[in-house]
């Protein structure tokens, strides 16, 4: 089992934000965690890696590959982070140190967890750059010299350089345009599947979720409201709060209304045209 979360509660200043969440990610499984802003998605991701500040109270159980994270020592957590888990962050520009070269940042997990010769680390970084579709000269560049999409590819390369068993992707496409979003999601999925790893994909965007995951968990105000296969959940959400999210996603992202509310043929046609344009633009890019 990649991740096994049982009865997770997170409280800040005595106020509970996450209320007894259960969540599992099996080996080789891609699971989505979706919810509106402030629902507690990122808190759960940080709790999984023990990244929450010490004054945040975390209770329950989080098992990463059989190792308990809640209450674990800094040494235990440091051993898991970057080795068993790799994390892709929301804002690729902000999650890279502006004064370190890209190569230095990609090789960090290797330096921390493996006793490799420098030449071998260099080789692995270059191979990883190639895998994520970046030219070798990116290695010597600094973050401000790269575009948003390139930066997120660097983030993915950093997360995957040690071939971790679990990837936690915390809204990795939010700061990107729609074409780059699809490219990044496809890249992430292909690399995770290729490595046989598991992935917890956190997002508030159902269109991205459908492409990235096979199963998803819907979170609302710190509680799980619905779980199921992503495709089935998108087609027929059972919970009212999930339905609200799906409706909003269709209205905003696909520019079409929820079919039960109105069956506007021109809106549907417009959505199809938009999707086709998107595909053509991606091919051109």
């Amino acid at each position: 089992m990649g991740v096994d979360i049982r009865g997770l509660r997170i409280a800040i200043g005595g106020q509970e934000i996450v209320h007894g969440v259960d969540l599992t990610v099996g080996d080789g499984e891609r699971v989505g965690l979706i919810g509106s802003s402030g629902s507690g998605k990122s808190m759960i991701a940080r709790a999984m890696l023990g990244l929450l500040p010490p004054d945040v109270a975390v209770s329950g159980s989080i098992s990463l590959g059989g190792t308990e994270v809640v209450g674990a020592s800094d040494r235990t957590l440091a051993g898991l982070r970057g080795r068993y888990t790799g994390m892709v962050f929301q804002n690729p520009g902000a999650s890279l140190n502006p004064v370190l070269s890209v190569g230095k940042q990609i090789e960090l997990p290797l330096r921390l967890h493996y006793d490799l010769a420098r030449a071998e680390r260099v080789d692995r970084v270059r191979a990883m750059l190639d895998k994520v579709g970046l030219p070798p000269d990116v290695e010597g560049k600094h973050p401000h010299e790269l575009s948003g999409g390139q930066l997120q590819r660097v983030g993915i390369a950093t997360a995957l350089i040690t071939s971790p068993r679990l990837i936690v992707a915390d809204e990795p496409t939010t700061a990107l345009d729609s074409i780059t979003q699809r490219q990044i999601v496809d890249l992430l999925v292909s690399l995770v599947d290729g490595a046989g790893a598991s992935m917890l994909f956190i997002t508030h965007d159902f269109s991205v979720l459908a492409r990235a995951t096979t199963r998803c968990v819907v979170l609302d105000e710190g509680s799980v409201v619905e779980t199921g296969e992503t495709a089935a959940l998108l087609a027929g959400p059972q919970d009212e709060r999930t339905e609200r999210l799906v409706r909003a996603a269709r209205a905003l992202t696909l520019h079409t209304a929820w079919p039960d509310a109105t069956r506007d043929a021109s809106a549907a046609a417009s959505a199809q045209v938009s999707a086709r344009e998107c595909d053509e633009a991606e091919v051109r890019a």
Binding site: P53, P54, D74, M87, N91, S95, S101, G103, I106, G140
Partner: protein, 300 residues
């Protein structure tokens, strides 16, 4: 090692290209050169006095004249340069170490430690450097150690206070969280992420501290708690002649001029170095600094 040398060469070349960087480099280079030369040679032996030729104007025999004992002013300024250089280097090192220690405590994830260290720094920073020097002079007597400890302590606290906001921003940044998610330890985050990112603030503050240390050496020596009598230093040259400024102004002018030029150069040095080591403002640093480039990214 070669990569580190290459990096230093790029930084020095970048500083040299600008007038604001060339001037401090020339002054500091000359200062270091004179300090080294003074170990082996001065125009006149330091202890050579001449009661018949006191307060002499500059001449071919005494380039900057003589003081009240007939000793050669130029020779004493040369020898004093090494004392001041040692004082500045040691003071900056003590200030940097103490400042970093307090910065690390103040941005700690442990809120009790962070809060307590802010209060401690605020309390200690209110103690004047002169008072610390006077207290230290009781057990230590007038010595270089008094200047280094008193100034290093005071400047270290100032450094911590000035660098804290920037350090706090870095410590709470997404890239530090990202590094921790990769398994980085607190020490790693401090030296690889926080220090490089607060380095511009540190360099400016430390270069100001270096300049202030030169001034403090003069002040504390004048008060009798700095460099002991008989040890050459610019402060010593000033302290022994300043009483006669209205009669023999030239003798006071030379050490005063040296102190002024060096303080201005040190202040400019920090600004020039900050611009030269920032890859955003210095395009020369943007190439060849990847993982196959300089080891560990030292010096950032």
């Amino acid at each position: 090692m070669n990569d580190a040398n290459g990096y230093a060469a790029v930084v020095l070349r970048s500083m040299w290209r600008r007038a604001s960087g060339r001037f401090p480099l020339m002054v500091i280079g000359l200062w270091v050169l004179v300090s080294v030369v003074s170990l082996f040679w001065t125009p006149r032996p330091l202890m050579q006095t001449d009661g018949y030729h006191t307060w002499q104007a500059p001449s071919a025999e005494h380039w900057l004249g003589t003081d009240g004992t007939g000793a050669d002013v130029f020779s004493w300024l040369m020898a004093g340069s090494r004392t001041n250089l040692i004082i500045v280097i040691l003071t900056v090192l003590v200030a940097a170490a103490l400042g970093l220690l307090f910065v690390a405590a103040m941005v700690s994830r442990h809120t009790v430690l962070a809060g307590a260290s802010v209060v401690v720094v605020d309390a200690l920073i209110s103690i004047p450097t002169v008072l610390i020097a006077l207290v230290l002079a009781v057990p230590l007597g007038a010595s270089v150690a008094v200047i280094v400890i008193a100034c290093g302590f005071g400047y270290g606290l100032n450094l911590a206070r000035v660098a804290r906001p920037q350090a706090l921003l870095v410590a709470r940044s997404a890239y530090v969280e990202s590094a921790m998610a990769d398994g980085a330890s607190g020490a790693y985050v401090l030296f690889r992420h926080i220090v490089p990112n607060i380095l511009p603030v540190m360099l400016v503050q430390l270069s100001l501290s270096a300049g202030t240390a030169v001034l403090a050496e003069s002040g504390l020596t004048y008060l009798g708690v700095g460099v002991p009598s008989g040890t050459p230093s610019w402060g010593h040259s000033l302290a022994t002649t300043v009483r006669f400024i209205s009669v023999y102004p030239l003798t006071v002018l030379w050490p005063g001029l040296v102190v002024t030029v060096v303080v201005v150069a040190l202040n400019l040095f920090g600004d020039a170095l900050r611009d030269a080591i920032d890859p955003v403002t210095n395009p020369a640093l943007r190439q060849g600094t990847g993982v196959s480039g300089k080891e560990d990214g030292h010096g950032r």
